[in-house]
Every structure is written in structure tokens, then in C-alpha cells.
Symmetry: C2
């Protein structure tokens, strides 16, 4: 097993999960979505500009596949040079020749590439109104189940990543609504925990039901039920890495009602989420089920590039399935964190050079 | 090798192609599309009613996945009980546990299930105007290449089927425009060859260019360049069965310019297309390239159900990748034509029983 993979929670299950996947075939799926909750000032830095937040998910999908964005004329970086975590995902997938599929689960903007369409609308701002009708939650689960059954039948391990600005806030609200005590992670070093809690609690105060479908309809986002559907069928056929931080905790909490095959599942993330002391991913998962959390110990603190070193200082931390993709690459081809860093630095240089064309 | 598979054209290549696929893993992909050319009176019987023709492709995709149609409240059969060829496809895929993905390449109506979206508009009536802008042909090829690269990386053999009403007429026009002398097959026992030739020749008379992209833009349909793109990348990674009759000949003719790995390709169809003496699939393919035509010798003439026996009498013959799916099932699990017929009869009974609910 790679020296740069850590296991948290149930060690035995984590070791068995990883041992079964060495040198195996992986498929990466990126679920792109949107919630208007991201427009609440102060909850996210994904995207440079509030008006552009809706372009972040399709731009991430495009960057992953082309190395540049098509739906928007911009490089996927903050003005001070912090790249999308998709840069780490792209690097890992290419290093290990892992193919990806994009699933549109309510993105406000469609990506300019082929993607799985689900017909779902984007999620509404939970501070203002319910996230989506109950029918949409049902459809998301059903379509997710179909996608998971198809994709799961073609690989030894389906890695599911997500990109949805504002998604940690809806994840927090869903976890709280389902009775899980969670402190969620953030893309910012100063996690606006109080603001997220207030939004979550205010939104939850408006509903009476504790039925998970009602909770997700009221305070969730379309990504959560779609990935839960995918998890339920895919995990009955093959191994699944839920690649992400606290958003995948919300998926797992909701999945208690949609079902899954426990022994085939791990949460896969980056060491920067694990190290985030304002959040508690491992404890959160433990409250839901005895499922291992696996982390890629990335080496970004050693980078000569400020924008990459920032990940180790608490910015961005995770997203676009970066942790799960890195774990998959380590397992499939044995690449280590140092080599991944070198390739990420080369990808970074290639990406910024586009802005000078 | 299954006794119910026939090889036409290059025998050695056909045998090598088949030998490499026994007991292997297959993926079935269904490309759904539409051309307004189908509204010309007299060229198709796909769909009961001209207004409903546009529902045929999504209904085929839904029937394949659910056993009933969702976008339209009807069973996929003609009033006198001839079923969609998708019934044979569904039977074969289920018999061999082969998963399918649906690709929307310009269907006028979206299916109510998850599908790969390409953003392509449906094709126009080539008797009236150009089928599509040149940009759409380019996009179809590019998106097809991405889809083929992804799907091809997950299977030993990608089977590509299609459903597009009126598609044999656009196929005829493209073949003629590319200098291939073809008599195309039809879903009707009295093939309206003269009408199809006239439509094709009139449409071709309006263009000057013999560039394949221009020909497809003028007289083709969105399915052709999409499947050509899929073929180019998928055949460089794995084996590909182009599942269909003369429409796949048009794809192959256009693919001479988009490229493919010859040794990894076969045309897969039903014996009813091979036996159609108004058409000449094997001769058509020979004019394009030395690629084997493989046929599933189905046993529908022995059916106790009139609607299935009609296939052997020259109705429908092929479609929704029925021939290729049957070949895939025979290769993967060794099922024979007799057993497939029994399962098809059961599926038929199940399907008509829905209309009595």
C-alpha cells in the first residue's frame, strides 16, 4: 500500500478496502451541481466573483478534460494564483490513465463537453426558500441509481467527486437535519462556521419533518441525492470512493435511507481536510456509520509555487474529488505524493501560461 | 464460436475479431437521433404516426432500460403487433448482463432517463434544406471522440447501436455523396428505393463539394458524425461493433476521413439485413474498406408470435443495435438463437400485457 495514504476510523476495513484495489482499474465521475445558497455573501471563495460562481462547476469539468475552460474565458485560479483543486484531480487522473465521466446534477450552466444529463434543476438558496421540490429529490435518487448501476458495472472502483459552490453549507444543513453533529470544512482558512450554522438552523427551523427526503428537499442541494443514488447501486456491484470532505458525509448520512453495501465504501479525501481543526470529518463519519476515511497525504507544503503551497495552509483543501483521485492514482500505478507534486507543478505552469497567450 | 453467427466479407478478419471476444465484457451504447427527413411521406414505418416519429428514439431508449416507454403513453409496437427491434436488443442485453448507455445526438425529444448529452440539434429535412451547419458536424465528431475515448477505456468491446427514423434515407444520401454505390435497407418489405434515391440525388445536386464534412452537413444526420467520432477513438483502445445495417455503412464511409483502427472493427447486424435482396450491405462495406460484416442468425421465423415472425418476412429487420447486441450476447455467454427467441417471446408477452393494464 502506498506510504502516502492514511486510514482513519476503522483501520481493518480501511486496509481491506485498499488492499483490494492495488493495480486495479478505476473510473472517476465528477458530479457537477449548483445551489443559489452560494450567493450568500461570505460563505465561499470558489470562483473569483459572485456572478461567476455558477460557471465554476462546468469550468472544473472542462478543465479536467481539456486543461482549459470553455464556458468562460478565464483560467481556473483566484486572482492571487490559487488554482482549482481540479488541477490536482487532473494531474492524478492523467498520471494513472484514469478516464472520467461528467454528470450534470443541476448545474446552472451546462459544460461544453459530453456529460450525463439528469434533467435536474439547480438548487435554490436555502436561506430564502426550499432547495428543491420533493419530486426532484426522488428523481435525483432514481437517476443516480441508474447511473451508478451502469458505471459501477464497468470498473473495479468508481470514484465519485463533486463540484458545487456553497455545497458545504447545504451539507452542514442536511447533516444537522439528520441529527449528525458536524463541523463542516471550508474552502477558506477562516471557516465561517457561525454563518453556516445560522443559515442551516434558520432553514431547518422552517420544516417540521425529519424524513431524510424532506430534509434534503428543504435544505440540501441536487448533488446529495444524485450521489446517494449512485452510491446505492454502484456499491452493490463494485468498490466506491466518495471523494470529498464533509459534503460526502452529507451524502452518506442521506444514503442511510437509500441504502448501500457498506464493505465496498470508503470516504477519500486530502490530508488538508483531515488536518482542518475547525471541522471534524472523521468524527462526523463515525456518527453515521463505521466506514473508513482514507486520505491522500499530499506534498503541497513542499511546493515552490505559492498557489499550491496555499492548500497546505488551509485554502481550498479539497474539491473536484482531488483527494479520491490522488488515492486512485497511488493505488493504480503506485505513484507517490512527491511525484504527484512535480506533475501538479508542471500542470500549474501550463495553466498559467494560457493566460499570457 | 457460436453456430448462430455468420461472417461475410473478409473471413479471416471476421474469425479473428470474434475469437478475441469470447466470454469477454461488452458495453452497449445506443445513439438516439432525429432527422426531419423522416416526415417525407412513404419512407419509414418507424412509429405509428408521423407526429409520433420524433418519440421513437427516446421511447426505444426508455424501453431498453425500463421495459416500457415514459416519454409517450404507448407500447413500442405497430398497431398490428410488430414490436420495435429494441425488444430483441433488450432481450439480448439482459440475457448476457450487458449494461447500456444512451447517447443523445440530436434527438428531438429527450428521453426520461440519464443520457450523455452532446448539445446537438436534430437534423433538418434534406429534401428541403441542409441537414445541419458544418459546425455541428465538427462538434458531433469532437464530442463523439470524447465519448468513444471514455467508453472504449472501460470495456473489451463497445457495441454502438442507433435509432433514428428516416436514417436509411440520409445514409443513402451520404453514401452516394461519398461515391459509394449502395442500395440501402428499409424497415418495410417493399423498400421505397426509388423515393430514397430521388431524395438523395436531389439533395446532393444542391451541393458542389465532395468533402465528407460538407456532404454530411448537407445530406446526413447528426448520428453519422457522432458515431464516426466514437469509432475513431474507441477503436484505438478496444474492439468496436457498429451495430446496424446500411446506416453503419454511412458511418464507416464518413469515418475514412475521421480515422479508425481497422483491425478492431466489425459491422454487426441481423441475418434479415444480409438476406435483404433489395439492399447490398456486404458489397457496400467492401467498397469502403476490408472490414468484416458479422450477422446474428436469429430464429424469428420459428416464432409462434406473428409480430416477431414478421422480422423474418422482411419487416423492420434491424434497428436499436439488435443484431450487434445479439452477437454480443452469443459471444459473452454462449446463448444461441433458439434460446434468444424464447426470451424474446416472453419479453413480447410482457410488453403487450402492459397495454391491458
Amino acid at each position: 500500500m502506498s506510504k502516502d495514504i492514511g486510514i482513519f476510523g476503522n483501520q481493518t476495513m480501511g486496509q481491506e478496502f485498499l488492499a483490494g484495489l492495488e493495480k486495479k482499474q478505476f473510473m472517476f465521475s465528477l458530479v457537477i451541481s449548483y445551489t443559489d445558497t452560494c450567493t450568500i455573501p461570505g460563505i465561499t471563495i470558489a470562483g473569483k466573483n459572485p456572478d461567476l460562481l455558477a460557471y465554476t462547476p462546468p469550468a472544473d469539468a472542462e478543465f479536467l478534460n481539456f486543461g482549459y475552460c470553455r464556458c468562460i474565458d478565464a483560467i481556473p485560479m483566484s486572482p492571487d494564483g490559487k488554482p482549482t483543486p481540479g488541477l490536482l484531480t487532473k494531474t492524478a487522473l492523467e498520471a494513472a490513465s484514469i478516464s472520467n465521466v461528467v454528470i450534470n446534477a443541476g448545474s446552472k450552466i451546462a459544460p461544453k463537453l459530453p456529460y450525463f444529463e439528469t434533467g435536474l434543476d439547480y438548487g435554490k438558496n436555502i436561506a430564502v426558500e426550499p432547495a428543491m421540490p420533493l419530486d426532484s429529490v426522488t428523481q435525483a435518487v432514481e437517476y443516480g441509481r441508474m447511473i451508478g448501476r451502469t458505471l459501477g458495472s464497468f470498473t473495479d472502483c468508481l470514484v465519485i467527486g463533486e463540484t458545487i459552490p456553497g455545497g458545504t453549507t447545504t451539507a452542514q444543513a442536511v447533516l444537522t437535519g439528520l441529527g449528525v453533529k458536524a463541523k463542516v470544512s471550508s474552502s477558506m482558512p477562516k471557516n465561517p462556521t457561525l454563518l453556516k450554522n445560522k443559515i442551516a438552523n434558520d432553514a431547518l427551523a422552517k420544516i417540521k419533518s425529519t424524513n431524510p427526503f424532506d430534509v434534503v428537499a428543504a435544505v440540501g442541494d441536487p448533488m446529495i441525492p444524485t450521489v446517494a443514488g449512485m452510491l446505492s447501486t454502484a456499491s452493490s456491484l463494485t468498490k466506491v470512493i466518495l471523494a470529498g470532505g464533509t459534503q460526502m458525509a452529507a451524502v452518506l448520512a442521506f444514503s442511510k435511507i437509500t441504502g448501500y453495501e457498506k464493505k465496498n465504501i470508503a470516504i477519500g479525501t486530502t490530508s488538508y481536510v483531515i488536518d482542518d481543526h475547525t471541522a471534524n470529518l472523521v468524527d462526523t463519519i463515525k456518527q453515521i456509520d463505521d466506514i473508513p476515511v482514507i486520505s491522500a497525504r499530499l506534498a503541497l507544503k513542499d511546493s515552490k509555487i505559492d498557489g499550491l503551497r496555499a492548500f497546505a495552509d488551509g485554502f481550498v483543501k479539497e474539491g473536484v474529488g482531488a483527494g479520491g483521485a490522488s488515492i486512485a492514482a497511488m493505488l493504480k500505478v503506485g505513484i507517490d505524493a512527491k511525484h504527484l507534486l512535480e506533475l501538479s507543478e508542471a500542470e500549474y505552469q501550463k495553466t498559467i501560461s494560457q493566460s499570457r497567450i
